[in-house]
Symmetry: C2
Subunit: 424 residues, 2 copies
Amino acid sequence: MTSRCRVALAGFGTVGRSVARSLQERDDVELVAILNREVERKRVEWIDRRTTWTESFDDLLRCRPDVFVELIGGRAPAADWIRRALEAGIPVVTANKQVIAHDGASLLGLAAARGTVLRFEGAVAGGVPVIRAIESGLAGDALTLVAGILNGTCNYILTRMERDAAPFDEALREAQALGFAEADASQDIDGLDAQAKLAVLVMVAFGLQVSPAALAVRSIATVGPVDFVYAKRLGCTIRQIAWAERIGSGVRAAVGPALVALDSPFAGVGGSGNLVAVHGRSGGTTTFGGRGAGGDPTAVAVVSDVLAIARGTGSVPAVQVRCASIVSADAATPCYVRFTVADRPGIIAALAAVFARHDVNIDAVLQEPGYPPHERPFIVSLDAAPWPVVETALGEIERMEFHVQPPLALPVLTGVEDRPVATF
Amino acid sequence: MTSRCRVALAGFGTVGRSVARSLQERDDVELVAILNREVERKRVEWIDRRTTWTESFDDLLRCRPDVFVELIGGRAPAADWIRRALEAGIPVVTANKQVIAHDGASLLGLAAARGTVLRFEGAVAGGVPVIRAIESGLAGDALTLVAGILNGTCNYILTRMERDAAPFDEALREAQALGFAEADASQDIDGLDAQAKLAVLVMVAFGLQVSPAALAVRSIATVGPVDFVYAKRLGCTIRQIAWAERIGSGVRAAVGPALVALDSPFAGVGGSGNLVAVHGRSGGTTTFGGRGAGGDPTAVAVVSDVLAIARGTGSVPAVQVRCASIVSADAATPCYVRFTVADRPGIIAALAAVFARHDVNIDAVLQEPGYPPHERPFIVSLDAAPWPVVETALGEIERMEFHVQPPLALPVLTGVEDRPVATF
């Protein structure tokens, strides 16, 4: 396109406003339409007077845009609008993780069939250009593993607990007060946000389609400040990790809190940052880090996608996405288990006997001083063992009467730098 | 291209062989010609029998390749061959940092004029796809700063000194024995390798052309194990950092050893790893890390560039590269200075008086025990001050008679995460 690229934007929230501001500053792009619910309430002075404001997708299509930017979020009606734009041969840019996680493969197929493109850099890791880096920059490698910190809210909470020994509830309230977390933060904390993003990464990195709901999730809500104390004793800290490994034509994947080595790239991610690590057969581990959320960083991803289309460099490799089976997490992984007990003699012996019966080897037992005997936390670190076996053993131990809180088991991620990480 | 993409390869060294092996495994690419000096000595069994082996670039062109891959290294005759291929309308892929650093702007202009492309992902940071991430994924941002660990040899040596208190010479010999460093490692150690890569990054990130030789370099050879002890006392370690900041239409840039905070992404880069951090006005700091050298990682970059061209997704944004002025490094930076002296009373007072006269504030003076008085190292950390002023003060101090070794001054990089780093 030699003339200005005409962009229509649906969604005028935080990201949408940042995208609009950025597009307005450029002379190679023209913002022809903005769609939002209650559009009159959204209207602002700094948008060009010629831009159409509307609540109707049909109005938006009638503006004949060169690119449709979808930023309304959620599956409906976003997926339908994206489909209609692609069917009309209009290139689409979206930051919608739910649409891409659920319908990405079919929408990419539709785009290819219509000779147009669907780009979604903003759907994962905000302003970090990990999607195009994987699909294009690592195209010459065979990727075997992807692991990431994909949810800035969880990372904010966990690093706050790490740094200041803040209780979980306090760290969450603070994240909410600062606008890092929604009033209902369960999508973040329980791992559903990262689960959708992980499904997108699996599609891009492995060419495999998985149902997001099939990826195991565990909440970070059971992690406490004491776990950071013990993790540090083991040379580790705790992060919410989204993790997927390619096993033939299947995928082993999970999202949840995990111990990561203090000298790993994950431990270095502070605040609401994101980091994605991919491992390839030839290239080893490559990392991509930066701001995973927020209006401006996500807008960088969206605007970069728009510019790629405007400059005629936006075509994407034809994606051969196949449906993948989910392989159960039966690979062996080292494990951290924190018990909180009403202390009395014989507890270690009792649980050691259960682990021994299941052939799970105890690496270390650690107990920090300074906790009252009626609610005393201590931890057991386990040598690599299949996760289901550990869970069975813990099920037996949990029935014993000395617990004040349920045991908390966390996988220990090892060796992300140069070999596949442990599974969980 | 729907038929197989015909690739001609010049250079059959470590990277070339790895590229050839990778291309041979694919059915969408065909290796039609291999060019090398003394080609008969290079010939191997595992290359397809139909592939032409030659020592002549004219022979190679006669094979009418769809892509020319240049991996011979050095400026001549590589630059000439690339130019001739582009003039013939043949897309070119290279990993040649010297050619791109010196002639990149004119060759990109030639490619655009001939309606073809020149790609060079492998020229910087080996397998880390930082070039396309910047040129495309961060196109929507205004980049203000780029800083990186771009030389794996230096990073290997410095991390070896950090971990095992190895002397510089021993760490260098070990790097040479392991194949990480050439017999003549001066290009690495003195910063010339990183200097060329930094010039490439400046072109891609800022659209500004600089003569590589105009970028200031300082050697890592004067850094000793004792500096890691003192750096740690300051919460830092030492890395070779290549660094450039955009100042209007000019660039302030340098390559050399610097103190970096232990919790910065640079400190986490071990062994021969690379890491590039870019700072944008909207997106904040984004990092790209991975294997910066070696046949296989660099081959991933080269093959990914070939595949982008083969798939018709290899076009690059038209680059408007302007010549940039080099801005002298007059911004204030905190500074670390290590003195090695024949100890006697009055030394601190003498040098403190010089710093005071130049209006340079001393933040701390540290002296570790355990060194003999006739060769005693101690350090002075200085508050942010213009580097030329610090150098002038050190020139005066250096004339005093108590030195056993010349003072070593290193800049302290601060705040890469969320604001521009200090300069040096």
